[in-house]
């Protein structure tokens, strides 16, 4: 593959060298199954528990409140399905409050529960930045609510939700609140007491950890019905042999993210702002999607009128820039994303979305090269669309 400039950190990030080094011993040297009685197992278990403690320290919670999973999606599934079934069993509560701006791991899970398991999903109102307002939650809450799920920061449009305020509303009613923090974890603070949430999903590969591992924070007292049953790992909440090297990598990556948060955030924020400012200024018929001021530090997302978003990504890739969008589909059949459609963005705009997400190692010169190339590529995409009609 010819080397191109990677601007898709919201999709995934490379594993940090230090994380890789931390993982290495657990593949072929300290390879034991943590559930085994013998010393191989003890050694592996020690690594998993040390990782758990590290994660708990970052989140400011107890080790017992951390469950390791295979990814952020699994964490979302476990949180939503687990809390919903559990709540219904105890109190007959069967209403789930969430938003159309959530990741599919949340919306599809809630949708399945509604379609096949007799739950009701209520879609909370969003503002024009896709933000869920605390008052909207307050108005919708009731004793029949099993769970509220509102993401911390949005993967498509970067908007940061008022999670603390929403959690406070839920607390008043005693309803469990879940937040999908998969996108947020790379740059935003994760203190669960400050946030006030009861459940929080994380995915390792978004903050320079490996793919294939995630975690779910479960506040003491929050009941979950487990989905993956079998062995007694993770306090019976998530059976399955731990992927020890990945768990170790997850913890190391999260620890580094917290230690280096200030400088990483400063670095990406300035690049992000430069991108946003330049694009809106230089490219006609362009707009920023998501909140202009409460947005993820590394996240720039746009809509370009009369542009085929999928085609723009292809032109960008051919020119050496790796980006993504909310409406692209690998099979080339683009439909606008639900998020952009729910925001009321008209079709000629919503089909032309572009997401540019920088990372801790993105160089300013890379961003400059990208910004120099983008305007004519947008023009090319517009010209090609015109020829077709």
């Amino acid at each position: 593959m010819t080397h191109s400039i990677y601007l898709d950190h919201a999709a995934t990030t490379p594993v940090d060298k230090r994380v890789l080094a931390a993982m290495q011993p657990y593949f072929a040297e300290a390879f034991g199954n943590p559930a085994s009685v013998h010393q191989y197992g003890q050694q592996a278990e020690g690594a998993v528990e040390a990782a758990r403690e590290t994660v708990a320290a970052v989140l400011n919670c107890s080790s017992r409140e951390i469950i390791f999973t295979s990814c952020g999606t699994e964490s979302d599934n476990l949180a939503i399905r687990g809390a919903a079934y559990s709540a219904r069993e105890r109190t007959q509560a069967n209403r789930i409050l969430t938003s159309r701006a959530e990741h599919h791991a949340v919306t599809k899970t809630a949708g399945q529960l509604a379609q096949h398991q007799g739950f009701a999903v209520e879609w909370l109102e969003m503002d024009e930045y896709g933000r869920t307002q605390p008052l909207a939650v307050r108005d919708a809450l009731g004793p029949d609510c099993a769970l509220v799920s509102v993401m911390y920061s949005n993967n498509e449009i970067g908007t940061i939700n008022p999670v603390c305020e929403i959690a406070a509303e839920c607390r008043v009613h005693g309803i469990p609140m879940h937040t999908d923090a998969v996108q947020a974890a790379a740059y935003l603070p994760l203190d669960v007491d400050a946030l006030g949430i009861d459940l929080m999903s994380l995915g390792g590969h978004k903050f320079y950890g490996p793919k294939g591992v995630g975690a779910l924070y479960v506040r003491q007292g929050t009941r979950l019905m487990p989905s993956q049953t079998g062995g007694s790992q993770e306090s019976g909440l998530r059976a399955g042999t731990h992927n020890v090297p990945l768990v170790v990598g997850f913890a190391k990556a999260l620890e580094l993210a917290q230690q280096e948060r200030a400088q990483r955030t400063a670095h990406v924020t300035s690049l992000r702002d430069h991108i946003i400012g330049t694009v809106l200024e230089q490219i006609p018929d362009s707009c920023l999607t998501g909140s202009p001021d409460t947005r993820s530090p590394n996240h720039a997302s746009f809509a370009f009128k009369d542009v085929d978003g999928n085609l723009l990504l292809i032109l960008l890739d051919a020119a050496g820039f790796a980006c993504s969008s909310g409406s692209a589909c690998k099979t080339g059949d683009p439909e606008p994303s639900e998020v952009l459609t729910a925001l009321g963005l008209a079709r000629p705009w919503s089909l032309g979305s572009l997401r540019v997400t920088v990372g801790k190692d993105t160089a300013a010169v890379e961003v400059d090269t990208f910004l120099r190339g983008l305007p004519q590529l947008v023009e090319k995409a517009r010209a090609l669309r015109h020829d077709q009609s």
């Binding site: 593959m1 032109l315 051919a318 059949d333 090319k380 090609l384 077709q388």
Partner: protein, 347 residues
């Protein structure tokens, strides 16, 4: 790339020859709600093309041409049947999609040339113009469908399989363990998704399948037809007529919804007129010339005299012998030696 063995091998050969290759696939159209989508872009085809690209280590992109394909190729197909013609949509696709829309996208990506797995050859002539020649494998030759190209398009074209036989191509694919090596070729129109074209017409042009009368050349009623779209010129099978001699479809009368049939002798036509002629060299021949003419993709070539009319936009083709299957809507393509000189739409 189509997910078929031909385009896979074409890509492989070019990569091995040192070209900077990028794989592109078109997302075409098929009817909504049909279980089997357009074969050319069905998920299975895309997945195969993508795997081939990954194996060859070339970038791979899918370009959306759904609306354009529906508006040009499919629409022309339906309109053609509506006029009583038998259209060849692959020609329209080459005119409006593959060598225009797809080529434009390829150039926009920075490509200089566009290659396909077509069996055909290109050769420069002494004046520097490009000639389109039949493939070496005459049974697979696809120069007929490429007769619509102009010199600009030919200059951008590469046909790596022109000198190879199909058997050889399959062998080359197998040697490289390409996942498409044993995939069988589709003979049907891509957007029919394996369905019969008559069912497609019934859903989209139901008036073409309204029963009517069958008459002979004298106007005498001989029977009933099941809808004009079911028949093509020269067809003998499926005619529900009472007659002594075998009868063949001679023409379709749209306005009266009548099918006119005749005997073999009556069927024969000595000449045809073709319009919208494309001359590969970029200009018409100055006067009448002898050529071998194919009146269908699957027809054998027949000797004829081709006379350009109206500054070359039309030609009159007079065959040495009576022909039985001259079908309006199909293309008449004329060859001199191995080269395609041009072709037009039979009126």
């Amino acid at each position: 790339m189509s997910g078929g063995v031909d385009s896979s091998v074409a890509a492989a050969l070019l990569k091995e020859q040192g070209f900077d290759v990028v794989g592109m696939m078109l997302r075409l159209w098929s009817e909504q709600g049909r279980d089997d989508s357009n074969r050319c872009c069905a998920p299975e085809s895309v997945a195969l093309a993508r795997r081939v690209a990954a194996q060859l280590e070339i970038p791979f992109y899918v370009v959306d041409a759904k609306d354009a394909f529906r508006a040009t190729v499919v629409q022309a197909f339906l309109d053609g049947y509506g006029r009583g013609e038998t259209p060849n949509p692959c020609l329209q696709c080459n005119r409006k999609i593959r060598w225009t829309l797809l080529l434009e996208h390829a150039l926009a990506l920075g490509a200089e040339l566009m290659a396909t797995g077509h069996y055909a050859r290109l050769e420069p002539d002494p004046r520097g113009k490009l000639r389109l020649l039949r493939a070496r494998d005459l049974a697979k030759d696809q120069s007929y469908v490429l007769h619509v190209l102009n010199q600009d398009q030919l200059r951008r074209a590469v046909f790596p399989l022109g000198d190879r036989s199909k058997t050889e191509v399959r062998r080359l694919a197998a040697l490289r363990s390409l996942p498409t090596a044993t995939r069988h070729d589709s003979q049907d129109l891509c957007f029919l998704a394996g369905d019969d074209y008559r069912h497609f017409l019934r859903r989209n042009r139901p008036e073409m399948l309204v029963p009517g009368t069958i008459v002979d050349l004298q106007g005498q009623v001989l029977g009933e037809h099941a809808g004009l779209a079911n028949y093509t010129i020269g067809q003998r099978k499926g005619l529900q007529v009472h007659s002594q001699a075998p009868m063949y479809v001679v023409r379709k009368e749209i306005a009266a919804n009548r099918l006119v049939v005749g005997t073999q002798v009556e069927l024969g036509a000595g000449s045809l007129m073709a319009a919208d002629v494309n001359w590969l060299a970029g200009e018409p021949m100055p006067g009448p010339f002898r050529a071998q003419v194919k009146t269908r993709y699957t027809a054998t070539e027949k000797p004829a005299l081709v006379t350009p009319l109206d500054e070359g936009g039309w030609v009159r083709i007079a065959f040495d012998q009576q022909q039985r299957d001259i079908t309006p809507g199909q293309a008449a393509v004329f060859y001199v030696g191995e080269a395609v000189l041009g072709g037009g739409i039979i009126q």
